[in-house]
């Protein structure tokens, strides 16, 4: 056996001999899975079917649509003179012109629109977005919008006067049928006051005039359809034809990628977070006992005499505690993922599509989180020596910032060891949707692996400091 493995085996043997520690490790797994299960079981937020966009992602598709059929190539033009909101105009409130193959949920589309705060945009298929003219729309600053179809290619234009047009962008809608629906739409998503954890549904009212369609038009009259999806709406949509080419419409909803906290307050991964924190507590107490027991009994002097290389002594203990906690973490997370997804689905909760690599990242990352936490507590134990102080320090470093973060903003979850919880983030984020991107809703202020790296840095720093202390202090 290689010399470096001897102390490692000695530490594992010490761990294995004390049966209560093995039992406690099983307790950590049990606590993790049980709390995840209870958390999922308690959550009841049933939602209906959620549409899926052309790219396979979950989408919101709820708006007021006044439309007619267009056969073959053609052009749709309209002027927007007003956009207002109740109770507030949401930054991503939208009013404009749209072209789509049918009025089904999650259908392909291309649209040019004025928005609350983001100027004119050309968007297609939920995820693509290009900016046009900036500024808000109003009576003194009306906006002209134009969509023109040539085969599969839809081109969007904007103008301030209806004579000088600027091309914004063009989009290709693959497999677009010859006859499509085209017309005016209005929708308005939830708006968020600063610091709010949940949004308030809003509605937007827009005035259109100079509406004209050129091309093959099998049916002349305009039809109004409320495209109702799963998005929470503020009021029932309305539309009124003021004259042959002028309309007033009110709509509520969104045409955008779906993110967390919109249709359901419950983030499926929250159950896993709860389980992790409970298991973390068990791991901290267990590791603190493991790390300080030899100081209490005085056997640390025997151990240090048997292996005079003190840095190695600490490293082996960190490896033993870390790998065992990681193994418990992998097992528990894998079990909890299977169980909570099953329970949440049975409760009617909506689960975002989850990729295989994403799931693997949560399972491996959570195991590593518990392992790094255990290694950190080993270092704290070697520095502080007393079990009560070690446990308190571990909890203060690994749990407390998560609570304080809710009080003082998210920066604590960026710079403290709790940043590692970002490894459990699974929800999609979109710059096209305003939402409360906060940890309780499943969004963390750092990227997953960067968050885990923050914890790893703390662990490395603590182990270095502890090794230095161990070398320079009497046992």
């Amino acid at each position: 056996m290689k010399p470096v493995l001897v102390p490692l085996r000695a530490e594992f043997a010490k761990f294995r001999r004390v049966r209560s520690w093995v039992i406690a490790l099983c307790a950590a797994v049990t606590v993790f899975v049980l709390l995840s299960f209870l958390s999922a079981f308690e959550s009841r937020a049933p939602v209906g079917a959620v549409p899926v966009g052309p790219g396979g992602e979950a989408v919101s598709d709820t708006y007021m649509f006044v439309h007619q059929a267009l056969a073959g190539d053609g052009t749709l033009t309209a002027r927007v003179t007003a956009l207002s909101g109740t109770p507030e105009l949401a930054p991503w409130a939208k009013a404009g012109i749209i072209l789509e193959p049918d009025t089904n949920q999650g259908t392909a589309y291309a649209a040019v629109m004025v928005t609350g705060d983001h100027g004119i945009r050309m968007q297609d298929n939920y995820t693509h977005d290009r900016p046009g003219l900036p500024g808000r729309v109003g009576l003194s600053s009306p906006r002209w919008l134009r969509l023109s179809r040539a085969g599969d290619i839809i081109t969007g234009y904007d103008s301030t006067d209806g004579t000088h047009w600027t091309e914004i962008a063009s989009a290709r809608l693959a497999g677009l049928p010859r006859t499509v629906r085209t017309g005016l739409f209005v929708t308005a998503p939830e708006y968020f006051v600063a610091g709010a954890v949940a949004g308030t549904p809003s509605a937007a009212t827009a005035s259109f005039d100079w509406v004209s369609v050129h091309g093959g038009l099998p049916s002349r009259p305009w039809t109004g359809t409320a495209i109702a999806g799963s998005y929470p709406v503020a009021s029932a949509p309305t539309w009124k034809q003021v004259s042959a080419s002028a309309f007033t419409m009110t709509g509520s909803g969104d045409i955008a990628p779906l993110v967390g906290d919109i249709i359901s307050a419950q983030w499926a991964g929250a159950s896993i977070v709860n389980g992790t924190i409970a298991a973390l507590l068990v791991v901290i107490v267990l590791t603190a006992l493991f790390a300080t027991s030899q100081y209490r009994r005085g056997s640390v002097r025997t151990a240090l005499a048997a292996g005079p290389h003190r840095g190695q002594f600490l490293a082996t203990r960190a490896v033993v505690a870390g790998s065992l906690a990681s193994a418990a973490g992998f097992t528990a997370t894998a079990l909890a993922e299977v169980i909570t997804r099953h329970v949440l689905a049975a409760n009617g909760s909506y689960l975002f599509p989850q990729s295989g690599p994403g799931l693997a990242r949560v399972i491996i990352g959570t195991g590593l989180l518990l392992g790094l936490a255990a290694a950190l507590v080993v270092a704290l134990g070697a520095m502080l020596r007393r079990s009560a102080v070690t446990v308190a320090a571990g909890i203060v470093l690994l749990v407390l910032p998560g609570i304080l973060g809710a009080q003082t903003g998210n920066w604590l979850m960026r710079f403290t060891p709790t940043a590692a919880f970002a490894i459990q983030a699974t929800l999609p984020r979109s710059s096209l949707v305003t939402s409360a991107y906060t940890p309780p809703n499943g969004y963390f202020p750092v990227s997953p692996w960067a968050g885990l790296a923050v914890l790893a840095a703390y662990t490395a720093a603590a182990l270095t400091a502890a090794t230095w202390l161990l070398r320079h202090r009497d046992a």
Binding site: L35, A194, Q266, V282, A392, L400, I403, Q407
Partner: protein
């Protein structure tokens, strides 16, 4: 009882760690409070900030150190075997627990009485510098103001109740790591579970019965209507936790071999 009290005071006074832990509790409470105030910004105005509550954020950390001290008072004696001597000297075992409770409560009250006003003063100074002060319509942090006084007194009492809760838990569990893990678990983990729970009704119920969220309702000076539990009722919940923990600890101490 007087002898027991004197004995406990002597033991605690002569322990090297006691003074350091109390100093650390006061210093870190004030430091974290000041840091929380420094991190609070409201550039556009109209934020739902409670200046007194922000200025007392340090209690979140201070309570952990108070809990360590209270746990050590009991678990330290079990660790060294001193407890057998203590029990032999005072055969009425409940008196020992009462004496420990009295001594630790006194020390924590003094510590809190230093840390809380310092935190509030620092917070008032820093927050008004950030525009979160009376000039923008926020309530002033003034010691003549009823709600602020209640928050200040309540926070000191809160720390004392945390000490009693920890004392009872340590008497029941004996082992220091298990006791501090249990106390901090109940204090910190219940609120996180409440936050990460999607069900609003359940979250509210958890916040009403969890000792930390209920007890810290005493710090609120604004938005009293949206609290999960009213300030004094909240402190009452924590007091019930502390009393329950002391009763369990007392019964176990009386009926169990040391």
């Amino acid at each position: 009882m007087k002898h027991a009290l004197h004995a406990e005071w002597t033991k605690l006074r002569t322990l090297a760690g006691t003074v350091w832990l109390l100093l650390a509790a006061a210093a870190l409470t004030a430091a974290v409070s000041a840091a929380a105030a420094a991190a609070t910004r409201c550039p556009s105005g109209g934020c739902a900030d409670d200046p007194a509550k922000i200025s007392l954020t340090g209690i979140y950390l201070g309570q952990a150190i108070v809990a360590v001290l209270a746990v050590t008072v009991v678990s330290g004696e079990y660790g060294t075997g001193m407890i057998r001597l203590t029990l032999a000297a005072t055969p009425r075992r409940v008196n020992i627990l009462a004496a420990k409770a009295a001594v630790i409560t006194g020390l924590v009250l003094v510590t809190g009485a230093v840390a809380v006003p310092v935190s509030l003063l620092a917070g008032a100074l820093i927050l008004s510098g950030h525009g979160i002060g009376p000039s923008r319509g926020y309530p002033a942090i003034s010691f003549t103001d009823g709600p602020v006084l209640r928050a200040a007194f309540g926070s000191v009492l809160y720390l004392a109740l945390i000490a009693l809760l920890s004392l009872g838990a340590a008497t029941a569990l004996r082992e220091a790591a298990a006791a501090i893990g249990t106390v901090l678990g109940v204090l910190y983990v219940l609120p996180i579970v409440a936050v990460f729970d999607g069900d609003a009704t359940l979250t509210r119920h958890l916040e009403q019965i969890a000792p930390m969220t209920a007890g810290l309702a005493i710090q609120a000076t604004t938005g009293l209507n949206s609290l999960p539990i009213s300030p004094w009722a909240g402190l009452g919940v924590l007091a019930a936790w502390a009393a329950g923990s002391l009763v369990v600890g007392g019964i176990l101490l009386r009926n169990r071999d040391a």
